[in-house]
Symmetry: D2
Subunit: 369 residues, 4 copies
C-alpha cells in the first residue's frame, strides 16, 4: 500500500488527477449489510464542493458520485465499494504557463524531483480535488460509525486571525456552522473573518486557519498500541491533508506548559458498568486529554485541532523558478480558495471517520470472545 | 500489522512489558551490507536510559542490547535484526496497589476496557520502557540514514515553561544539549528549567515540554502521496510516543494566522542541477514549510516540534477510581521522571529515523530507472 | 488490505460485481515514466474476453477499458492508475431463480454464510468477471516487466484429459496457442480436446484442465525470504483465481518421488559475472527446481502449472438446496464456459506479472547501494 | 512487511539464522485472554526438533522456548508475544568449506545474488531451523483455534514412493502417526518407507514425499475474497516452507481431468440452521472441493496435500561452482534429514494454524453486527 491507500481492515484508496477524467475511491473491508445510497455520498460531497461562494474557489463541479460496486439493493455487500466522480469544469489552459514553472508553496518541484515528470494541470494528483475520493469514502465510514452510535463533527475554529468560541464557551453554535460559508460555529465571528478574507482576496492574498473536530460516542479502549494508537492514526490521517501544518489533541501545545496535577483529568465514579466488560464506567472532571490516554480512547469526546497554512496559490505576483532554473515572476490566475478551512471541514471529518471505522473493526479482534 | 509494527519496507516491531522478562525489537527490511554493531545500539540506548539524574527516574537499567539475528561479521544480512534487552531493575511490588486501581492520566482503565485484562506492573506494555525497542530499531535506521548522508537531531526546546533559543537564534548550541540532563541546546535555559523542575519534584508534581527535531541531508521528493506523505508519516510516528499531545511542522500553528504572501518560501536559483534528475536544484529564502510541501521533502531541513504533556505519575495525592468503581486517593510511589523531554529526545530521533528509512527505501521504486 | 488488494509496493485492487455497473482495478505504486496506453490494456482484455467461441461463454462484452487516472501524455505518473470497464451484456433475469438457491460447486452458500447477503446475479463478486480488473492491472505489470526484459507466457497444457506437448517436447508451438480457442501450444492436441469439449457441452457437462506458465528474463535472487518467497507469492496469487485446485513448480508433485541426486539441478560455469554483483553467473544442467530455490529465483525460467477444476455451472440437472434448506433440482441456464482454461491463461499471466512487478520493486531495497 | 512477517491481524514475524545466537518469533494481534504457557509451545517444538532418529538430522537442540512478552499470569495480554529459542548445537566449522562454494539445490547462490553477502553457516536464514519460530507462533495460533473448536492435523502421506492410506481408506490411523519417526498414519507403510530411506542414507542420497493436512471445525464462509481466499492464503503459507514444490486442495490435480457433474459436491439437507446466521446448514455427499469453494470454507474439512522435494543436502559427491565460478566437487557433511516430511508435519500445521487464526480474526469484521 504505497501511498494512496490507508487502513488495515477498512481500507480506502483514492485515485485521480485534478484535470484527468475522474477522481474517486475504493473502500474495501466495509462490513456487509450497511445501508448505503448514492445520496449519502452526494450529501458529503456537496459540503466540500467548490462554487459555494465566500472564500472558496469558483470552479463549478457538480460532483455527482456513481457507486460502481459493492452495494446491492441499498446495502453493502462486503465487497469493495468503488465510487466515481467525473471531472467536468477543468480549465486546463489556465495552467499552461505552469508546465515549466514551479509554484511557490506547492509540491510542483518536489513532485518532479520525485517522479521525473508531473501532470501540471491543476496540480495534478497534488490538487485538493483529490479529496473528493476521501470525502466519498468518508461518507461510507460515517454511515458505519452512525450504525455504532458515533458522530464526527468538525468546524472552522479560527480563520484569518479570528477565533470562534469553543464548545464550552458562550456563543458556540455548531448548527450555525453549516449556515455560513466559513463553517464557523458563530455567525458574528464568521462575519468578521469573512470581511478580512474579502479584503485579502482583493489584495491577491490568502489566509490560514484552524479546523477543530469532536467525536462523540466512542467506546473506551479504541486504538491499537503501540504504533496504531488512536491519536497517532488520527494525526497521520489529518497531516495527510494538504496545507495542514500541525495537530493537537485536548490541551495540546498548552499542555507542554502545564503541571501533572493540573493536566490529569480526575476520574469520577459513574455508578454503572461498561456494558459487557465487567469494569466500572468512568466519568472525568475535565478533558485535557482530548479523549485519548496512552493512545486509547477514554470514552470522553475525542477532541483535536488542525492548523492550516494560507492557500499558497495567490494572484499577487511572486518570484519563483522555472525548469531552466531561471527566476520567473508568477501571478497565479486559476480559481482558488482564499481560505481552505470551510472546504477542509468535511475532509477532516472524512479522514477522522475513516480512521475510526478501521480501528473499530480492528478492535473486534482484541479479545477472545 | 495490528499495532506493534510500523513501516512498509523498513518495518519495525517492538515487544515487551515494563516488568516482563525483556523488551526489544525486530527490524525487517534493512538493506544488506550495512555496518552495524552492538555498540551502535548501545550508544543510543544509553541516551534514553534512566538513571542519569536530573529530571529522570532513578530506575537503573543497564540496557545491554543483544543482537540476536540479522548481522554477520559486522554487516547486516538483509534478514530480520532482532535486538533483546533484559529488564533487570523492575520493582514490581511498587505496583501492587495498582492491580485494582486506575491511575489518572494513564491508560490503565482504557487498556482494561479494551483487552479485559492488563499487566499492572509498571504500566505493562503502556510503559515508556517500551521505547527501548524503538530506540534500538532507531539505531539501525540511523545507521542506514548515515550511509545516505542524512542526520537526525532532536533536543528539548522548552520545559516547565522555559524555552531554549531556536536554531536561528543566538545562544543555540546543539552540542551543549547532550551535556545537560534536560538536553536543552543552551546551558542557561537548562539551568533555569532544572531549578523549576527540582521544585516541582519536591512538590510531588511534574511538567511538560516541547521537543524539537531537525533532519538534514534529505533528498527532495521524499514522501509518498497522498496518505504516506512525509509529514503524515512523521506525525503518526511521533504521536505514537506516549505523552505527545501535538506536533507542528515549520511555522506550524503560527501559519494559521499568516498570509500566503508571507508563508510561501520564495525559491532561489541554486545554479546547479539536482544530481541525476535533470531538473534545477532549488534553494529557498526561508523555511516556513519546515522542509515539506505537499507531503514531499523540499531538500531543506525537515523541522518539527512535538508537545509533551506533564508526566501523569505524580506523588502528590490524587483522587481516582478502583476496579469496584469506588473513589481512591492515590499517591504514586515508584520512580518517575518529572519531565519526560530529555529521555524523549532519543525516542523522537528514533521514530523519525525509522520513518525516513522506510520512505527512502520506498522511494527507490518511484521511477522506472 | 482486507481481501481485494494485493501487493506491497506494486499494489492492485479490483472492484466490481458481475452484473453491477462496472468492474475495474486500481494499480498503485507503478513507477513513473512507464509508457502505457489504453491499447496495452485493451489487448490483454481481449484475450480473456468471452465471445470467442470454442469452449467459452457466449456472453458478449466489448470490455472497453477507460484509464481514469495515473497516466499523462502516454506515461505513468507514479500515481494510482484506475481502469474502468463497464458491464454491458448482463442478463440478470437468467439468475432470478438463484436468488434463493445455492448452486453446487459455487460459493453461493458460503458467501451468504459469511456476509449474510449476496448479489446472486451472475455470481456477483465471485464471478470470473472479476478477473477483468486483474487482467487490466496485469497489463500494467506486464508493461513494467517488459521494460525490465521479462516476459510472462501461459498456455493450456491439458484440457479434458488431453495434454499438449511440453516446452522441451516435439510439437510444442507457443505461437500456435493464441490461434486456437483452447490456447493449446499444439494444433493437434487442441483439436482433440475441442472435440471432447463439444461433446461435453452437448451433454450439459464441463471439463477441467491445466494451465502452464513460463517466465523468462528474471534476475537471480528475486523473492523475499521467508514468507514472501517467489513461489509462495506466486502460489498465493494463482490460488486466488477461481477454480484453481493446485499448483506445482518445476518437477512439482513428481519431485516427491525423486531422489536428491536426481532432483538437484547441477550448476554449470557460465564464464561470466552477474552484471554489477561481482559473483559468477551460473547455468544449470536441468531445471527441476522450476527456476526457484529457497524461494529465490535462480535466473532460469520460472515454470509452474496450475490445475483447474471443471466449470461447476452445468446445464445437466443437479440436486442442491434452497434458502429454506429444501432440496431443489437445478439446471443452470446462463452462458458458461465448458472449460475455463483458455480464458484463464491471460489471468494466470496477469497474476504472475503482478507478483513479479511487486517483487522487483521490493528488491530495489535489498542492498545498501 | 517485507518478507519475514505474515498476516493482517494475527501477524507473525520470525527471526534468526541457523548458527546465530537464537531463532524466534513475535506474534502480534493475538486476542487477549487466551490461556498460553511455555509448555504449549515446548510441546509443538518438540515435534519438529531434530534428534529423534529415523530419517532426521542428528543435530541435537533442546529447543527450550522462552516467552519474553505478551503473557501475564498464564493469559495473553493482547500485546506482542515474543518467543526466543537459543541455538546451542551449531557446528559452524562443518560449513567452512561452504563460505566460497554454492550448494546445489540450495539458495546459496541466489541469496548472494540478492543481498551481496550471506551467512554460510548452516544455511543461515535459509535453514530449516528458521521454522522453529514458525512452530512457536503456530502453537499460539493452535491454542487460539482450539478455543474456537478448530483442530489442525497433518501427517506424512507419502515418502520415498510409499503411500500411507488416506483418511477414507482402511489402515489409516492418525494416532499412529505420532508413534513412528516418519509420522505416517500407518505402521506398515512407515516401516516400508523407512527401510528405503535407510538404504538411501547409506547411499548418500535423500528422498521427497507428501504431507497431507486436514482441518476440522471451520465455520463456513472463512476466507477473504478475492486475493485473501482461504486456499490462496494457505497455498502462500505452505509454499513458503522450504522444499515444498506444490500444493493441491481436495481432488487437486486429479480434478483437472474430471467433469463438472463428477466434481461438484452435491449439497445435502442438514435439517438445521447455521447458528446465528438464519440460513440452513449444508452437508455434502462428497468433498472433492477439499472444503473450500470460491475461496471460502464450506464447513467441511479443509483438506490439502503438499509435495516436498528430496533434501538437497546429500553426502554423495556432486559437482557445483565456487565463488570464482570454478567447478568444485562437493560432498556435504553436516547432519541432515534424509526425508524432510516428518519434521515438516508440525511446520505445515503451524503455517495452516497461523493463516486460519488470521482469517478468523479478519472475519469478525465481515458483518455489521
Amino acid at each position: 500500500m504505497a501511498g494512496s491507500s490507508t487502513g488495515l481492515i477498512f481500507t480506502v484508496s483514492t485515485f485521480g488527477e485534478s484535470h484527468g477524467p475522474a477522481v474517486g475511491c475504493v473502500v474495501d473491508g466495509c462490513p456487509a449489510g450497511l445501508p448505503l445510497t448514492r445520496e449519502d455520498i452526494r450529501r458529503d460531497l456537496a459540503r466540500r464542493r467548490p462554487g459555494g461562494g465566500g472564500p472558496s474557489t469558483s470552479r463549478m463541479e457538480t460532483d455527482e458520485p456513481e457507486i460502481l460496486s459493492g452495494v446491492f439493493e441499498g446495502r453493502t455487500l462486503g465487497s469493495p465499494i468503488a465510487v466515481l466522480v467525473r471531472n467536468r469544469d477543468a480549465h486546463s489552459a489556465d495552467y499552461d504557463e505552469l508546465r515549466h514553472t514551479y509554484r511557490p508553496g506547492h509540491a510542483d518541484w518536489s513532485w518532479e524531483a520525485k517522479y521525473g515528470l508531473r501532470d501540471h494541470r491543476g496540480g495534478g494528483r497534488a490538487s485538493a480535488r483529490e479529496t473528493v475520493g476521501r470525502v466519498a469514502a468518508g461518507a461510507v465510514a460515517r454511515s458505519f460509525l452512525a450504525s455504532q452510535g458515533i458522530s464526527v463533527r468538525a468546524w472552522t475554529a479560527r480563520a484569518a486571525g479570528i477565533s470562534a468560541p469553543g464548545p464550552a464557551e458562550p456563543g458556540f453554535d455548531l448548527d450555525a456552522a453549516e449556515m455560513n460559508p466559513l463553517r464557523m460555529p458563530c455567525r458574528n465571528a464568521a462575519e468578521k473573518a469573512l470581511a478580512i478574507l474579502d479584503s485579502l482576496r482583493s489584495q491577491g492574498d490568502s489566509a490560514g486557519g484552524i479546523v477543530a473536530c469532536e467525536v462523540q460516542g466512542l467506546p473506551p479502549g479504541l486504538g491499537e498500541p503501540v504504533f496504531g494508537k488512536l491519536d497517532a492514526r488520527i494525526a497521520g490521517a489529518i497531516l495527510s491533508i494538504g496545507a495542514v501544518k500541525g495537530i493537537e489533541f485536548g490541551a495540546g501545545f498548552a499542555a507542554a506548559d502545564g503541571r501533572g496535577s493540573e493536566l490529569n483529568d480526575r476520574p469520577l465514579p459513574a455508578n454503572r458498568d461498561v456494558p459487557g466488560l465487567g469494569i466500572p464506567a468512568m466519568d472525568f472532571a475535565s478533558n485535557h486529554a482530548g479523549g485519548v490516554l496512552g493512545g486509547l480512547s477514554t470514552g470522553q469526546s475525542l477532541v483535536f485541532r488542525a492548523a492550516f497554512k494560507p492557500v499558497p496559490s495567490i494572484s499577487r505576483s511572486q518570484e519563483t523558478l522555472d525548469s531552466d532554473g531561471k527566476i520567473r515572476v508568477l501571478s497565479i490566475a486559476g480559481r482558488h480558495d482564499v481560505c481552505v478551512c470551510p472546504r477542509a471541514v468535511p475532509v477532516v471529518e472524512a479522514m477522522t471517520a475513516i480512521v475510526l471505522a478501521d480501528l473499530l473493526l480492528i478492535a473486534r479482534s482484541n479479545r477472545l470472545l
